[in-house]
């Protein structure tokens, strides 16, 4: 057994519930992603940005899909008792999920894992401005961080990356939350590492990059690590790995991390999914 703690490791990891939440909204956002909103008051109250839920997608014959599917929280409405997910239709599980109709129920376990933390104040006692670097699933996972950071008084710049403009999500929401959003896409030819590195250099030069958060791309992770190291910035990354239990019991969801000179395994489900940026090894 690793990481024994009789008390949950963070106040974030309050007791976990298994609920059958009613689906309130469920619609396609673009050709790949769907937005789903559910009513889950007790879980919404506990949920924090960066945490995830473990969803029991409808099982068909031979209990397929067998495992639950981890899905980041895309939006939390604690007062309204609502949680939203933004997910890509990928394989068996998400295909089954996509078929659920409004009013149907979804068995959700959570909230699970450790969410994002905000950076310490600057040396001059100001709120550290943060930069978010998101692509793919990161567009969903990092979305609630914008609101969290804004309401704590941090300036936020989000670089949102996608294959094509049609696949960019959260642009309006990010701006509406008072963050600056920069869109880069493969189609426009401005999403490669070179362009994004230049953007980061520019943001740093302008004093708008005091901390870095990333999710959804191994390349962006490497880039963020390099920039954070160069400027000694606080940073976090949200990681993915296949999960069975989602609770820290089965050890299937490990990834390798740097711990000083050693390489260690950590469970993405309960020691993450959010990790210190400098410790992640990528995949």
């Amino acid at each position: 057994m690793q990481a024994m703690h009789a008390v949950p490791p963070q106040p974030d990891s309050l007791p976990v519930l298994e609920e059958r939440a009613e689906i309130l909204r469920h619609e396609a956002v673009n050709g790949e992603y769907r937005l789903m909103q559910v009513a889950a008051p007790d879980q919404a109250r506990r949920a924090r940005a960066g945490q995830f839920f473990h969803l029991l997608c409808p099982q068909d014959d031979v209990l397929k899909p067998f495992f639950r599917r981890p899905m980041s929280i895309y939006a939390i409405d604690a007062e309204g008792g609502r949680i939203s997910f933004l997910y890509k239709v990928t394989g068996t599980g998400t295909k089954a999920l996509a078929k659920l109709g409004i009013g149907e129920r979804l068995d959700m376990l959570g909230p699970l894992g450790i969410g994002f933390s905000l950076p310490p104040d600057t040396a001059t006692g100001h709120k550290t401005p943060i930069v978010i670097l998101a692509r793919g699933v990161g567009l969903a996972t990092l979305a609630p961080l914008v609101g969290l950071a804004r309401s704590a008084g941090h300036a936020v710049t989000a670089i949102l990356s996608a294959r094509s403009p049609a696949l960019l999500m959260s642009l309006e929401e990010t701006r509406a939350a008072g963050a600056e959003a920069i869109a880069v896409t493969d189609a426009q030819g401005n999403s490669d590492t070179g362009h994004v590195a230049a953007l980061l250099d520019d943001l740093h030069a302008k004093g708008r990059m005091g901390a870095l958060y990333t999710c959804g791309s191994n390349r962006l992770l490497k880039l963020a690590q390099a920039h954070a190291a160069r400027h000694a910035l606080f940073g976090e990354v949200a990681m993915e790995q296949q999960m069975a239990c989602g609770l820290g019991m089965c050890f299937c969801c490990v990834r390798a991390f740097r711990e000083g000179d050693a390489t260690v395994h950590r469970r993405v489900c309960c020691e993450g999914p959010v990790f210190a940026l400098e410790e992640a090894l990528g995949w």
Partner: protein
């Protein structure tokens, strides 16, 4: 009121339902009060430090899962310093699970972990014995007997021998475990299996082969539990594919004194509570006062009874079935 308590040798459990090793940890206490379980069996601990197997470590298959977690382990010192205090703080009996690479290493570990706070030791003899070409101890009766004798000599705690379903003749292994001093048997670990992703043409698991668990294995392990229960005098704990109270009752009717639930917890974290509640309800409905009364209470096979379709002439009782009319021989 149904009496749900069962005795596993000298250890009395409040109810017959406990987690299977490797599918439970204290984190489950975030979901429900784990003191409601019959016992707390935790992930196997080894004598050496281990990192576990390459990822992917799990895969889904029809009706079950494959795992090749391996046994990531921080070693016995960490176990004694951190794990024992953590789990002995729970009220439910704490059962450690241990394993090692050789019989002597196994016995030393067994002695080391025979400490206050531990109610029983599950000895996972389904793992490779490097002195026998890496075959699991419990693949054959002889190494089973040998390792159990050493383990018995190393500890006064109840020892539960966890058998492997990959053995060809599990009854003989069961008898060897009993002869070697086991207080109970756990039947069984996972069945070696594999699957292939035909798109990438890769094995689904990083380690190619791994253990099958979940509903798919139930009929196989139930058969083995039945065979073992009839071959030994010590209690048998059934473990394989239990997803519901009905599954658990099947195991108990087959001769198991208690059951372990593994994979089901991954799908429904509180599955074990449902199994306990379901057993209690079934006993109440069927006039069973003590759940231990159904252990091994299997009726004789045959067509009569439920199968006597068409023998429905009012109050007349169904006559004995056709099995009487014919000489069933040449069984193949």
């Amino acid at each position: 009121m149904v009496d749900l308590s069962v005795d596993i040798g000298r250890l009395r459990l409040a109810n017959p339902v406990m987690p299977a090793s490797g599918t439970f940890a204290h984190e489950l206490a975030q979901v429900f009060d784990v003191d409601r379980l019959g016992a707390l069996v935790i992930k196997t601990v080894t004598a050496d430090k281990r990192i576990g197997n390459p990822t992917p470590r799990v895969a889904e298959v029809p009706g079950g899962m494959l795992n090749s977690i391996g046994i990531p382990c921080k070693g016995p010192e960490h176990f004694l310093a951190e794990t024992v205090p953590l789990y002995s703080a729970f009220k439910a009996p704490f059962v450690a699970s241990i394993s090692a690479n050789t019989p002597d290493e196994f016995a030393r570990l067994c002695e080391m972990v025979s400490v206050p706070g531990i109610s029983a030791i599950e000895v996972n003899i389904s793992c490779p014995n490097i002195e026998d070409d890496g075959r699991a101890f419990a693949m054959r009766p002889e190494p089973t007997l040998a390792v159990m004798r050493k383990l018995r000599a190393a500890s006064d705690l109840p020892l539960w021998a966890k058998l492997t379903p990959n053995a060809g003749e599990i009854q003989e292994v069961a008898q060897a475990a009993e002869a070697g001093g086991a207080d109970a048997l756990v039947v069984a670990n996972t069945i070696l299996a594999m699957s292939i992703d035909i798109t990438s043409r890769k094995p689904s698991l990083g380690k190619v082969m791994g253990g099958l668990s979940g509903p798919a294995v139930k009929p196989i392990i139930l058969r083995m539990a039945y065979q073992c229960a009839r071959s030994v005098t010590i209690p048998v704990i059934g473990c394989g594919g239990i997803m519901s109270a009905e599954d658990a009752i099947e195991y108990m009717l087959a001769g198991c004194s208690a059951v372990q639930v593994g994979t089901a917890t991954f799908i429904h974290p509180s599955a074990m509570l449902d199994v306990i509640a379901g057993i209690e309800a079934w006993c109440a409905q069927n006039g069973v006062a003590r759940v231990s009364d159904i252990v091994g209470d299997l009726a004789e096979a045959g067509d009569e009874g439920a199968r006597n379709w068409g023998a429905d002439m009012g109050t007349e009782k169904p006559k004995s079935g056709q099995a009487g009319a014919i000489n069933w021989e040449g069984v193949a």
